[in-house]
């Protein structure tokens, strides 16, 4: 087995992105800003996605702080209800499309070529364009705040008929969604082609790391689902400006149709977010258990089952629209069915740890936190899947608690695990382990402070998307808001940890994690060179 490493030498200074390069190693011939604008290198583009994601995480986070500030006490103190609705909407859109999805695309770009022994993505220039669409899309979302009427205050799900009434901010949002969708679809085509066509000899599909598998499946989900969202918002656009009546009952349409079309995208979307998160955890847990992942094949099949099932459960977001009981029952049974392959995956992660030689560095802490809290979120999802219960809990804070458990304690924790895990490989520097642990524990405590009590609020009947609430909900809201302020400040600690690591972190050893065994750990130096696997390794 040969490991041909392309390395122009370590003798140079550290670049802005932290990886070492000698004077013979040039980044496409450009320096400075132009390098980043024109790069077709998957590592650079991965870095761009990750920083873009973090910026949006901060922007979306500020909106969350504003929301929790207003909800600290009953009554309207800081923001008029219209502005509050704008914050709620944009917090959702920015976090989903600007923070969490680009983060995992960033991981995909950095890791997929290295993990399959490919020199880069299949379409390197398309990759550059897929990224650079995003800052424009995100700017449209933010600019909408400053238009007459402000950002649309319709909820991130953009339901008709309210969206038909919004100002020009709604049109900007629709265009932003089009652009975000374009970027995702092109990126996914790139990922699928790379994984299917460019694996090194001997890297069969069933030898690929799980992270690559989950991204392959996610990319198919994206190609199938994202265009449907584009269709839905295009219909809203034509209803707004071109005289169509897709969602207007007076013209023969139906607002509920929007919900069907949106959620046909929307449910696969949440698995698009979750599956790469599962993939990261499937890399981290075996590494820190010093044991191979338990049940590799069943993990692949379970992920595929989740993806396929995700297309037939969408109306569990719509139990209260007046659907006939037959429909409600079908979607209820299908949704509870998804718990089965998900349970298989959770079991396999636990079984991986069983009798493993465990160590609890920061990546592993976040992965275990994921395991526990994502499972809790899955349980509340199971509760919500039951029609008679959901009739009571729909549009309450119980739902808000559920999806934050799976999106934040699920996807975000997994992203943190991935950053701490791979940062040494990308930059050649270790992060400060003590600070990393502080980041984990503060995040863990504050996260639960925010969202655990929201289950109680939902069960007690507090609706979501409201700026003011009856006195009886005050205590839990106060606790939730205090947790939110703590959580927000803690993420500044994360920024400090990353910057400190990149600038002045301790030099990482060749193999910082002894249990990690995918190609980037076994065949490439630390830090990885700008170009890797220009000759594919022979893995036969």
């Amino acid at each position: 087995m040969s490991a041909v490493v392309d390395n122009h030498g370590h003798a140079g200074e550290r670049g802005k992105d932290g990886h070492a390069h000698g004077h013979g190693d040039h980044h496409g011939g450009y320096g400075g800003v132009m390098r980043w604008i024109t790069t077709t290198n998957h590592k650079d583009i991965g870095t761009l996605y990750l920083w873009f994601s973090f910026i949006n995480f901060m922007v979306g986070g500020v909106m969350a702080m504003a929301i929790r500030l207003e909800l600290f006490s009953p009554g309207i103190q800081f923001f008029n209800p219209d502005l509050f609705n704008q914050f709620t909407t944009m917090h959702g859109l920015i976090m989903v499309f600007g923070a969490i999805m680009p983060a995992f695309v960033g991981f995909a770009n950095w890791q997929i070529p290295m993990m399959i022994g490919a020199p880069d993505m299949a379409f390197a220039r398309l990759n550059n364009w897929s990224f650079w669409i995003l800052p424009f899309a995100a700017s449209l979302l933010v600019i909408s705040f400053f238009t007459p009427g402000g950002a649309p205050g319709v909820g991130w799900t953009l339901y008709a008929p309210l969206t038909v009434q919004m100002g020009v901010g709604m049109d900007l949002t629709i265009f932003a969604v089009h652009l975000l969708g374009m970027s995702s679809i092109l990126g996914s085509i790139n990922i699928i082609t790379t994984i299917l066509n460019m694996r090194a000899p001997g890297m069969t599909l069933m030898r690929m790391p799980l992270f690559v598998w989950t991204w392959l499946i996610t990319a198919y989900l994206l190609v199938a689902a994202m265009p449907v969202l584009a269709g839905a918002v295009t219909m809203s656009l034509t209803d707004r400006h071109f005289g169509t009546s897709f969602f207007n009952a007076a013209g023969g349409g139906d607002p509920v149709l929007y919900q069907h079309i949106f959620w046909f995208f929307g449910h696969p979307e949440v698995y698009i977010i979750a599956l790469p998160a599962f993939g990261v955890v499937s890399q981290v847990i075996p590494a820190f258990s010093r044991k191979p992942l338990f049940g590799y094949a069943s993990m692949v099949y379970a992920t595929s089952a989740i993806a396929i099932l995700s297309f037939i459960v969408w109306a569990h977001h719509m139990y209260t629209v007046g659907m006939p009981v037959t429909g409600q029952l079908f979607f209820m049974y299908a949704t509870t069915l998804i718990a089965v392959p998900t349970g298989v995956k959770v079991f396999n992660w636990v079984a991986t740890m069983w009798k493993g030689s465990l160590s609890f560095e920061t990546p592993m802490l976040f992965a275990i936190g994921f395991l526990f809290l994502f499972t809790l979120g899955g349980f509340t999802g199971l509760v919500l899947s039951l029609v008679p219960i959901d009739i009571q809990l729909h549009d309450t804070y119980y739902v808000v608690a559920h999806f934050h458990y799976v999106m934040v304690a699920g996807a975000l924790f997994s992203a943190f695990a991935g950053v701490y895990f791979w940062l040494p490989k990308w930059t050649g520097r270790m992060y400060d382990e003590t600070l990393g642990k502080w980041h984990f524990w503060l995040t863990m405590i504050f996260f639960n402070m925010i969202f655990f009590v929201q289950h109680f609020l939902g069960l007690a009947g507090m609706p979501r998307r409201i700026p003011d609430y009856p006195l009886m909900f005050e205590t839990w809201n106060k606790i939730s808001s205090i947790g939110a302020f703590g959580f927000g400040l803690t993420q500044l600690l994360f920024l400090y940890i990353i910057l400190k690591a990149i600038k002045s972190g301790e030099k990482a050893p060749e193999k910082p994690w002894e249990g990690a065994d995918s190609l980037e750990w076994t065949h490439l130096p630390t830090p990885v060179p700008y170009h890797s696997f220009e000759t594919p390794p022979n893995l036969k």
Binding site: I189, I192, T193, V223, L257, I261
Partner: protein, 176 residues
């Protein structure tokens, strides 16, 4: 990247792009799809006109004769039903009036007791509003109309075609 790989990659790009465009069209196709599929499966309940409501309470297939009887047992009251008999459907809500007059020159208190013929018909006589078992005080010379609202239960046996509702007023002593 060798030309073979570049060609393979391009083929994948083309196919996946077609899938993406097709799914975009699929979103629009959902508009007629919902219409046709829901109609075919019969689950478009919000769009179908509902049938005229069916009356399941009144048994329109049979009529029962109800006779009304009134007795003032040794009381100086004139007590008679406004109508002697009536044809009703089981399940149909009916109201009849009884007229009572106190012919004595002082107030009299009476209480009515109901009885039924045939005796078993009593369990099928659902009285919603009646003056029985409540003490009624009439001043001297006062007349009063007292209503009875009832429903003959639809499970009345088929061989009973005539039922009689009989009230008897008894004077309540010591209430003048």
């Amino acid at each position: 990247m060798n030309p073979d790989q570049a060609r393979d990659n391009k083929r994948m790009l083309t196919r996946l792009s077609i899938v993406a465009v097709a799914m975009f069209g699929f979103g629009f196709a959902l508009v007629p799809f919902y219409d046709h599929i829901c109609r075919a499966l019969g689950i478009n309940s919000l769009v179908t006109r509902s049938e005229a409501p069916v009356n399941t309470q009144v048994d329109l297939t049979r009529k029962v004769t109800v006779e009304f009887d009134a007795n003032a047992h040794g009381m100086p009251w004139s007590f008679k039903p406004a109508t002697r008999h009536m044809e009703v459907h089981p399940g149909q809500l009916v109201q009849v009036d009884y007229e009572v007059a106190n012919v004595r020159s002082s107030a009299v208190t009476g209480q009515a007791v109901a009885s039924y013929g045939p005796k078993l018909a009593g369990q099928y006589f659902r009285k919603l509003d009646c003056f029985c078992f409540t003490q009624q005080t009439l001043a001297a010379g006062e007349t009063r109309r007292m209503p009875v609202s009832f429903v003959l239960d639809a499970s009345l046996p088929a061989d009973i075609n005539t039922v009689t509702l009989s009230y008897t007023f008894f004077e309540v002593a010591g209430k003048s």
